[in-house]
Symmetry: C2
Amino acid sequence: MSVTIDDIAKEAKVSTATVSRVINGSKAVSPELTRRVLEVIERKRFKPNSFARGLATDKSSIIGVIVADISNPVISTTIKGINHVAQQKGYTVLVCESDGDGRKEQMLLERLEEQKASGVILAGMNVDHSRVEKMLDMDFPIVMVTQQSSDGCITINTVIHDNIQAIIDAVSFLYDNGHTRIGFICGPENDYSSGIRRLEGFRMAADSLGLDIPSSYIVHGDFSYESGRECMTRIFEENTRMPTAVLACSDLMAAGAVSGAASLGLSVPQDLSIMGFDDTDLARYLNPSLSTVRIPYFEEGSKAAEELFALMESGEKATGKLVFIPHKVIRRFSVRNIKTHDS
Amino acid sequence: MSVTIDDIAKEAKVSTATVSRVINGSKAVSPELTRRVLEVIERKRFKPNSFARGLATDKSSIIGVIVADISNPVISTTIKGINHVAQQKGYTVLVCESDGDGRKEQMLLERLEEQKASGVILAGMNVDHSRVEKMLDMDFPIVMVTQQSSDGCITINTVIHDNIQAIIDAVSFLYDNGHTRIGFICGPENDYSSGIRRLEGFRMAADSLGLDIPSSYIVHGDFSYESGRECMTRIFEENTRMPTAVLACSDLMAAGAVSGAASLGLSVPQDLSIMGFDDTDLARYLNPSLSTVRIPYFEEGSKAAEELFALMESGEKATGKLVFIPHKVIRRFSVRNIKTHDS
DNA sequence: CCCCGTCATGAAACCGCTTACACCGTGCTG
DNA sequence: CAGCACGGTGTAAGCGGTTTCATGACGGGG
């Protein structure tokens, strides 16, 4: 069918071993032969058969990425980051969607094992401890990104932003703009990973700034636009004294909150300030544009890939390393300064 | 290392050929042996090595998808559709990003050839005729989705929506709502595929409805939010008599147009109606929510995958088949009916 | 009763590449 | 000058499946 290493060897009058060595640079070959072989390879457009190579080396140039939902902008940005460095290294990225289904996720891991993936990145996946244990049995190193294992005990290498500090910074930003009554729309209650940390950050910030936050100011959404709307309504209904600002745990929920506020007759930011999280494109598209916390997901993705390659090279499955990517508060128009201005 | 077909054969006291036959159901095996083999496979958790299999059959269970930008919601939705049917068929999807760079795209195609992909889908890629020719030389069948080859002459199988009719329907919708002065924000001038068709649809609709559209009503954007804003400004500056409605070729540009209109002191839909295209989530998130044309990208993706599998099974590289997926006009709040209402 | 076709099975070749090992020539050391 | 280390090269043995082909058992028709 297509041109093989034997064809090249014959044409260049050398052995297949030499051709292989030239391709992989695995051992010294004389300049003369190298030149001859390369010339023939070029001329015949030889591409080594990746199956044969994989069979012989038991390694592929594939790294797998498992995500819950590929059309989530946070995730797709992360994937772009991963892709970026993988492509540079000559690796191909296999993106698999689990739809958040644990069984499917297990299936995908097994399939990646069959494909002899050289490494796997779990992007934005909620994974608990018992799962982590099993994963370390896989043939490849794994790193998590954008979400960390739910229990504190770190075994899998992880690249993530500092959820606690990010929320503290967001609350401080609101506080600096004169807000002391601050509502919080967090993630689902069963999100034991980033959700619990962000809530912790919120509590810490409230404490250290001396804010008095009634429990009815804190509500749980599920990261969707619709839940953002609902949460806004709930805050409105359950409080006679409304917060002056609401911090949501994602831009999408913040968008829902803005819309919910509008339905309640509140306009943003005149009557209510709203702040998002992530700094997805949506934050810029909305009117008013969202103040938010920028999480550099592209960088998280590329850093995760780099960590994975480091593991692959060292041959270790996991070192427990934890890398934080710095975030940044972004000021836009959904938050009003109520300290200096007139009401 | 891991358990091989030989282990199974030995344990079940049969030959490797028999095990292989059981796995693939390629030839009759007695019930007795089948049972024994399956039992051992199950017990030892045997997974055939995909390299060895690929090497022997010269086929992989991978299909490739090449896209320009994975975080474009239109594209990621299409990918989800592809994934859906591929997963059912036991295939894995390799998503590759070309960043719209033709050279990179060529590289990716070659890499997919190396990986012996069984088929490839080009999602939303702008491809001209000379490229198409070369692609048909590849080892695998190719289908295009969401975008068709730029010249009329169809060779590659394609799954797409009817761009001409979709725009005609959108214009008709605006017309039915009393609009006769309609602006059009189209794609880049060098988009010879969907762009040219949409413009054609716009002209056809204008003609058949007897609308008088000055050329300054038609401007070219690049599908970005920012270009939507600019286009809006341009329409405003170049016309003393403004259109009453503007149709944009993507929700994103429509969002930019809304924002641009706001900057010009025009509020939507009171002073100006704006209509989008695609029906991405963004259309619902905006305020006012966008009237738009829903293109079922998930369905396009899954249909494209089905077409690809059909080609793979028939063994043909291309049949020139063209499949249209029906669209639908969605009414929301960015378009006002100026026929029945007061001014 | 014999011949032949059919079916189930196993032995072994093969897919294309990597790599352990053998081999050879060269230059250096003792 | 013998012996040895070493760099460059080729031979061939895998890697783990699939598949061709040979073999043997069995059943039915003449």
